[in-house]
């Protein structure tokens, strides 16, 4: 277990030590198989009951708080689409004051989390996020990235990948769907000089959980960019919700890394990559792509991977091995 030696603490929760307690309760209206549920469940397992969730509009919000009931067994506040970072900043400042005045026990550790979609983060909530990071509020910002505005009908967002067909960037005869590449949100957040920024993937739960823990322990703002599969938006069979996320990492499309006080680490090394085709062919939003467009995407990924290997200084994400089976057979992982 080389990774565990290298990064002590990574597998702290691995061996059946995830808390049983659920603070994200069942009875929510998320689509069947939506991995927002997986992210939120484990997030609250790690952060515990002393957590305040700030939730801008999006799928997570409309599906989990259907008046007069809520799934969140922790304090939760709905905010507008664009101001998650600002509201969380205000809550953090207020708690600081209450602690100073002795209204709240100064030693009590209260986690403040913004749980926002990619649209509410990378696009319309961007200035609020940037302001929050700049002022150094101790808030954990979790961006669940389903690569589109899914709640309002699958429009493209700043993190929609190249070649994906969406309702506002549909694939046609001349244009293969979306033509921009994903906005590098972790790099942008880290450039604010914050102590902790990371990417995560719910298919790698232990890695994700470890990052929630590190984010909670950071001495300032923390930013987590978490990939999330969306059945209607990505158009795959519901049962593949985790498989498709696994493929994202196995193909190098999604690299799990962290930037801890400026230090860059890949937390899920991939010795041999599967071709990106494996990830694409499971989804309907890429169905229209021609072989040369798939090659373009493969080239984009190869470039990103080379850059990551260069930063790390050795080959953490290996070369493409076309001999690998796309879906890892049952029980092999």
């Amino acid at each position: 277990m080389k990774v565990a030696e290298e990064y002590p603490g990574l597998y702290e929760y691995a061996n059946f030590e995830l808390p049983q307690e659920e603070l994200f309760l069942p009875g929510h209206g998320l689509c069947a198989s939506c991995t927002i549920g997986v992210i939120a469940r484990h997030m609250l397992k790690v952060l515990g009951p002393d957590t305040i969730v700030v939730n801008p509009t999006g799928c997570a919000e409309v599906s989990t708080v259907v008046y007069p009931r809520t799934n969140w067994a922790v304090p939760w506040i709905h905010v507008a689409f664009g101001n998650g970072g600002s509201v969380a900043s205000g809550i953090e400042a207020a708690i600081k004051v209450l602690k100073r005045r002795g209204v709240i026990d100064p030693n009590r550790k209260i986690n403040i989390v913004v749980f926002a979609g990619d649209g509410g983060t990378a696009d319309i909530g961007f200035q609020a996020l940037s302001g929050m990071l700049e002022r150094g509020h101790k808030v954990i910002y979790v961006m669940y990235d389903n690569e589109g505005y899914m709640n309002t009908g699958i429009q493209r967002s700043g993190t929609t990948p190249f070649g994906a067909s969406t309702t506002t960037a549909p694939a046609g005869k001349k244009v293969p769907g979306n033509v921009t590449h994903k906005k590098p949100m972790v790099a942008i957040a880290a450039a604010h000089g914050i102590p902790y920024a990371a990417t995560a993937n719910p298919a790698y739960v232990h890695d994700m959980v470890y990052k929630f823990k590190k984010a909670a322990e950071a001495d300032g703002p923390a930013f987590l960019h978490i990939l999330q599969s969306c059945t209607p938006g990505w158009r795959f069979e519901p049962k593949y919700a985790i498989r498709v996320l696994e493929l994202a990492t196995e193909t190098g499309y999604w690299v799990n890394y962290e930037i801890d006080h400026g230090e860059f680490r890949v937390t899920v090394p991939v010795p041999k990559r599967k071709p990106v085709k494996c990830f694409l062919q499971l989804q309907g939003r890429f169905r229209h792509l021609k072989p040369e467009e798939i090659d373009t995407i493969q080239a984009l990924i190869d470039k990103d991977v080379a850059e990551i290997n260069r930063i790390v200084g050795r080959e953490v994400i290996g070369p493409v091995d076309p001999g690998l089976e796309c879906l890892t057979p049952r029980g092999a992982r």
């Binding site: 069947a32 198989s33 997986v38 599906s63 029980g331």
Partner: protein, 312 residues
Amino acid sequence: MRIETVWVGRGGQGIVTATYIIANASIIDGFHAIANPEFGAERRGAPVKAFLTISKEPIEDQEPVKTPHVAVVFDDKLLGAMQFVIDAVKPGGYVILNTGKSPQDAAALVGRDDVNIVVIDAIAIARKHLKLDVPNGPLAGAFSKVMGFPSLQSIREAFETQLGKAVEENFAAVKEAYEVAAVIPAKKVDASAKPKGIISTTSAFLTGPYEVVGWREVNKAGAVFPGSSFPYATGGWRIDKPVIDHSKCIMCRKCWLYCPDDAIIEAWVEREGPRGRKFRMKMIDFDYQYCKGCGVCAEVCPTGAIQMVREI
């Protein structure tokens, strides 16, 4: 002549498309038609409603249908949660129901003898022809059979303009449904009687008991009690349910880890050992009140201990 219909089903089952297809096909056949779905924040699997009115005369109003002549129900588990739709059907009208149950059991489920009940296993037909769980085509076929319009040929044309793809497969499903739909005629019809209720127009988002909260009970700033979602029984969203073979389960807890709905629980069960000694052990079990039947647990299970079994 003016026929008002309501279509109820789940997000992702193609309710809206079905009403567009029938509306289009009726227009090709020389009728006037208006299809108006009711949109809310419907996720995949959540109950959805759509209205469709077909008439010989031009239709001028765009009102939602309150007491339909025909109710098309895409999922027999909606009968409980959306009973008000069945109650609202006019005496002598039709209830078209997608179910895997026998016509007699299905009729008992509907629980009315003053309406004609049409039973069709649209999911089996859709899986056969399209390899998908979208029962809308077969239900359109059943509609065409019992109402006598629109013609199959027009439905086919509507598929071409509306979908533009998989026309053959969809049409094959429609045709099969047209042939096999079973009709149980109404026993006694009192044409002067009024329906028992009307269809409310609020968007039905979750299945389960609803509470109408008056303004007096609304807390300050709309605050609600944390973690109060238990009465929303999202288990009604299922088509398939997970079933576990305990002899294959190695308790790796992967299914528990990845269930988005917190529907996998570890239950202590009492077992008898070989020499009659009783002991307690932990086993994986499902909370069917909340399991949406997504199939993720069966897919991630490393030993294949979980199977998805059809339920409706």
